[in-house]
């Protein structure tokens, strides 16, 4: 119980809260060239990721939907991180993020603020929340 409390304290902190309450790049992207949705039928969380590509660069990205703090913060930080990146770079970051939260791989500093979600690896029930938007991003870029 003591250990799990510290995991939670680490996870549920200021930066996650900030993105949960005021998510970045939230809303409709009118000039989107690629759109993909994700849904977790067991909890009802849903997300839609909209991307505007210029060549192979993510010129703009937004998301909308509803979800818990983990899924919303993950989506919000994801949009901040991949905006302006090449498609291949974004997919590489997605791989790194999922390695961190799914397999518990050592965090890569390239993930920036998303390192705050490291603790999710210790909460198997919540891994899907953290990866929901990333799966949608991958689908949109494919």
């Amino acid at each position: 119980m003591g250990e799990s409390m510290s995991v939670l304290d680490e996870l549920y902190r200021e930066i996650i809260l900030k993105h949960y309450q005021s998510p970045k790049n939230f809303g409709v992207l009118p000039q989107a060239t690629k759109v993909a949705g994700g849904m977790n039928p067991s909890c009802g969380d849903q997300v839609e990721v909209m991307v505007r590509l210029e060549g192979d660069t993510i010129a703009d990205i937004r998301f909308q939907g509803q979800g818990c703090a983990i899924s919303t913060a993950s989506a919000s930080m994801m949009t901040e991180l991949v905006k302006g990146k090449k498609v291949a770079e974004a997919l590489e970051l997605s791989k790194k993020f999922q390695a961190m939260v799914v397999e518990g791989a050592p965090p890569d500093p390239a993930l920036g603020d998303l390192l705050a979600l490291q603790g999710v690896a210790k909460l198997p029930a919540r891994v899907k929340c953290a990866t929901l938007a990333w799966h949608a991003l991958e689908e949109a870029l494919r």
């Binding site: 119980m1 799990s4 409390m5 995991v7 939670l8 549920y12 200021e14 809260l17 949960y20 309450q21 067991s42 909890c43 009802g44 969380d45 509803q66 979800g67 818990c68 703090a69 983990i70 909460l123 029930a125 919540r126 929340c129």
Partner: protein, 404 residues
């Protein structure tokens, strides 16, 4: 019966003083007697049933049929009206396919409610898609009860079946099934009751309810997973074709055709979950020895105490009707915290609750909620556990005030 010493009957509960298990609406914990019944079957009785050329098989069959008798007593049904299935979901599919598929046609209506579990909706959607029948629903009031003022208008002569949940798995609402069944029958409709939540927690008398079918899951009423029951009124079962075909359910088989055994065997194709059914019989016996009135009274006492104490938690919102027509289920939200985050934080405090839409998306849509957390009680829960639950919520409220 002392409900505090009864905890010793449950190995998982007795062995985990750190855990407050408040998710019995999803599945119940199991008493030692049930686990021993499973074990005893495999160690002492293991043989297939209903083909006893030898004494061991006769003994296995006798134990399996004794379980059927116990479930019949539990529901006030006849033995031949008890069909062993896997769970409520399978029971509802059996009714939808074996009865619905052959008796519904285009223009007919299936009347459900807005508080159904998906198991009470999706089988009818599938059969409606095949027959051209339509599914419509009795609406909910704001307090989370069925709006019976709409019933007469909904019960047209096109309605061939009324299928409803006895007790809501989300709100705890106990529906007036007997009254609805009486009105449904007057309109010429068959009555199907999803008893997944009621059978474990309330005294159930299928005859008094006026149910033509009543479905339950064994694992929610102290039994193992893999065995549930469909009660079917004999006159209805007798006129029905089988759901699944195979061994055990036949009378005579030729290469090109077959005839079928009478109910209940007609609906039990293949080797049944023998050990699980026997253990479910033991669970029903355990509950009958305590008395279902007392089980319900205990749930209710915990519910009343919890509702009173939860009022101390700022920003906490509780849903569901506040009258006597409610079992021990509490859906709740805390401020703007998402139900999943709340359940994770409660888990950190050793409190096991469920979060999500609880397989009732239409109900959550009606309430305008994406998800709720849900605490549910059973006979092994205590007032002290309610205190621990409330105190954990108060600590979470203090620690994550900024999130609310």
């Amino acid at each position: 019966m002392d409900f505090t010493t009864l905890r010793e009957d449950f190995p998982l509960i007795a062995g985990r003083p750190d855990l407050v298990y408040l998710d019995s609406a999803a599945t119940s914990q199991k008493p030692k007697r049930v686990l021993e019944a499973l074990d005893r079957y495999y160690k002492e009785l293991n043989a297939n049933v209903h083909r006893g050329a030898y004494r061991l098989s006769v003994a296995a069959t006798e134990a399996y049929e004794e379980a059927r008798r116990r479930l019949a007593r539990f529901l006030n049904a006849e033995e031949r009206e008890i069909i062993f299935v896997r769970n409520t979901t399978e029971a509802m599919n059996l009714v939808a396919y074996a009865w619905g598929l052959r008796n519904l046609k285009e223009g007919d209506e299936i009347l459900v409610t807005e508080m159904e579990h998906h198991a009470g909706l999706v089988p009818w959607h599938l059969v409606a898609g095949l027959t051209g029948a339509k599914v419509k629903a009795i609406p909910l009031t704001e307090e989370g009860r069925l709006d019976l003022s709409a019933l007469d208008a909904l019960l047209t002569d096109r309605v061939k079946v009324v299928s409803l949940v006895h007790m809501s798995n989300v709100l705890g609402t106990i529906n007036p099934v007997a009254e609805i069944a009486r009105r449904a029958k007057a309109a010429g409709a068959l009555v199907v009751v999803d008893g997944a939540q009621s059978a474990p927690h309330l005294p159930v008398d299928v005859k008094a309810l006026g149910a033509d079918f009543f479905a339950l899951s064994g694992h929610k009423m102290l039994g193992p997973t893999g065995a549930g029951v469909l009660f079917g009124r004999y006159e209805v079962l007798e006129g029905m074709m089988p759901f699944l075909g195979g061994g055990e359910m036949i009378r005579e088989v030729h290469v090109d055709r077959s005839t079928y055994a009478p109910p209940p065997q007609r609906f039990e194709a293949g080797t049944p979950p023998i050990a699980e059914a026997i253990a479910l019989g033991e669970a029903a016996q355990y509950l009958m020895e305590i008395g279902m009135e007392r089980v319900f009274a205990h749930d209710r006492a915990l519910l009343d105490y919890a509702l009173k104490r939860l009022a101390e938690v700022p920003d906490l919102k509780v849903y569901g009707p506040m009258g006597p027509d409610r079992g021990g289920v509490i859906p709740f939200t805390l401020g703007r915290l998402h139900a999943h985050d709340l359940a994770t934080l409660l888990d950190g405090e050793g409190i096991a609750v469920r979060a999500g839409h609880h397989c009732a998306q239409p109900l959550h849509r009606k309430l305008g909620l994406a998800a709720t957390a849900r605490a549910s009680f059973y006979l092994y829960n205590t007032f002290e556990e309610v205190d621990r639950f409330v105190e954990a919520l108060l600590r979470i409220h203090t620690r994550y005030r900024a999130w609310l």
